[in-house]
């Protein structure tokens, strides 16, 4: 995505009607505000709609004011410097941007940051404890489950979720339920082996 110019004024400051706060209070008169919002949308006045989002990221509360177009992926990487989450295809096909939202694995490239209000986001940075790697991280190292490493944060977050979902019962299940994570180096055999080990199985 192209770089988005920073807005000069916040939503609240320019008293734009129809913000989500107004919507939640039930105060928004649906039809009457449309024109002014559209002007804003067209950027006639140098203002681009923004939204304030409060979420917990790896257990820590974060409050961000972002252009409504900003994805969770870009918010993590560009605003919070959490660059462990990777941008691969940026179109929902590769899984490199996988994070957990409220414990479920999702694609941060197709999630708007605005949609994460009140959510709990977990990224690769929050996985390890103090001085101790997560068992899936340990297993990926032990089994040499990566080469270039670019897809690895997404693979690991997806694997953590897969184990929690109870879908590591067979190698076949691991392959099917890890299918949203593409590895161009082709480390699949070792990825399956790493997950199998954490699942407590010794053979396929």
């Amino acid at each position: 995505m192209a770089e988005i110019p920073a807005a000069k004024t916040s939503l609240a400051e320019c008293e734009m009607p129809g913000t989500f706060e107004a919507m939640e209070s039930g105060a928004i008169p649906a039809g009457s505000t449309t024109e002014s919002m559209r002007d804003t949308g067209h950027d006639h006045h140098g203002t681009i709609p923004e939204v304030t989002v409060t979420m917990r990221i790896n257990g820590r509360p974060e409050r961000l004011q972002v252009d409504t177009r900003v994805t969770l992926l870009d918010a993590l990487r560009d605003r919070l410097a959490l660059t462990g989450t990777k941008k691969g295809c940026d179109q929902g096909a590769c899984g490199a941007c996988t994070v957990l939202v409220d414990g479920k694995r999702v694609l941060s490239c197709l999630t708007l940051a605005a949609q994460c209000e009140g959510r709990e986001v977990a990224t690769i940075e929050g996985l390890a404890g103090h001085g101790t790697r997560h068992p899936v991280q340990e297993a990926f190292i032990r089994h040499d489950a990566f080469q270039c490493g670019y897809c690895t944060p997404g693979q690991i977050m997806s694997a953590v979720a897969l184990l929690a979902e109870g879908r590591a019962g067979s190698d076949e299940d691991i392959r099917v339920f890890m299918s949203g994570n593409v590895c161009r180096c082709g480390a699949y055999r070792n990825i399956v082996a790493a997950i199998r080990e954490v699942a407590g199985r010794t053979e396929a």
Partner: protein, 330 residues
């Protein structure tokens, strides 16, 4: 991509009122189609997005006649429902054969039904000719590369495929779509919900601007019904169907007493194979019957050189699906 206003809706009627009066407004649910087409492809550019994911429209309830599913229920949530697994296994299998776990955690049931086509020309803003995007400009697939396109329900104006797996068993089950509009609620059978392109490929379904799917109602089949979803694709997972078949039958002493059949990967709309069902009903469950049903299912296709293979592939999908569904425990 143009800027847009983001509104988090908390009340369905108010969400509908907001979108209905504003031609530049649209709904946002899981975002797997909407965000993709807006941010990445630049195909659509609503100026106001009403996020419906916080609306109280997430539920799965079942009684003796039907399963009712709130529109913002995710694909993973529906796939995990015990009644779906027990009574409609081909719905569960169609869900789990779709996309990836990450996308299924995001994508909603209403959004799945309303997903836009994967036609490469539709999704490429540099392509001029697309009747679906810009009525009257032509169809680039007619002279270009057609492969993942429809062979049924198409016309010279458009052969864009409807890519949903879920809609295949749902259309076979006579699912009812509940729609909330500015004037109230209406119910439309899924078999009448989608519109074939004809001369108006840009109109894909019966929804008026601002109307919102609130729930789907999936009628249950008799308990002795067996069902199968068989999907053929170019890799084992995370791929759209080349062809697929969702079939449900009631078998009685080797005779098919009732049959439902939907086809995926072949239609401009999720395809109900009415003619094939007629062939199957009260016929013996034999290979001969299955082949006759398969012939009826893809009669009079509209093919391009790149899509002609789907006629035979659809038959070769349907016949084994029927063998499986009649041969033993589904």
């Amino acid at each position: 991509m143009l800027p847009f206003e983001y509104i988090r809706a908390t009340d369905p009627a108010q969400a509908v009122a907001t979108v209905a009066v504003d031609p530049a407004a649209d709904y946002l649910a899981g975002g797997t189609t909407q965000v993709d087409l807006m941010l990445k492809d630049g195909i659509i550019s609503p100026q106001r997005l009403v996020d419906i994911t916080r609306l109280p429209l997430k539920w799965i309830t079942a009684d003796t006649t039907a399963i009712r599913v709130g529109t913002t229920t995710t694909m993973e949530e529906l796939a995990a429902d015990p009644t779906v697994s027990e009574r409609l296994p081909f719905v569960r299998d169609a869900l789990l054969d779709s996309a990836s776990p990450q996308l299924r955690n995001m994508a909603t049931i209403g959004g799945n039904l309303l997903q836009r086509t994967r036609c490469g020309y539709f999704r490429d803003p540099t392509v001029e000719a697309c009747n679906k995007r810009r009525p009257g400009t032509g169809c680039a697939a007619m002279t270009g590369h057609a492969r993942m396109h429809a062979i049924l329900g198409g016309s010279q104006n458009c052969i864009a495929l409807h890519g949903s797996d879920l809609a295949v068993p749902l259309v076979a089950l006579d699912t009812i779509v509940h729609i909330l509009g500015p004037g109230g609620v209406r119910r439309v059978p899924l078999t009448e919900f989608y519109l074939e392109p004809g001369d108006t490929p840009h109109i894909e379904n019966v929804l008026a601007h601002g109307e919102l799917i609130t729930e789907i109602e999936i009628p249950l089949l008799p308990e002795d019904t067996r069902s199968v979803y068989l999907k053929v694709r170019e890799r084992a997972a995370a791929a759209f169907a080349l062809t697929s078949a969702g079939v449900a039958v009631v078998l009685e002493a080797g005779v098919i007493r009732a049959a439902r059949m939907g086809l995926g990967g072949v239609g401009t709309v999720p395809w109900r194979a009415w003619d094939a069902e007629d062939v199957l009903r009260d016929a013996p469950a034999t290979g001969e019957t299955f082949r006759a049903a398969a012939e009826a299912a893809v009669r009079d296709p509209f093919t391009m050189p790149g899509t002609a293979f789907k006629v035979e592939l659809a038959k070769r999908t349907l016949v084994p699906a029927l063998h499986t569904v009649t041969g033993g425990t589904p």
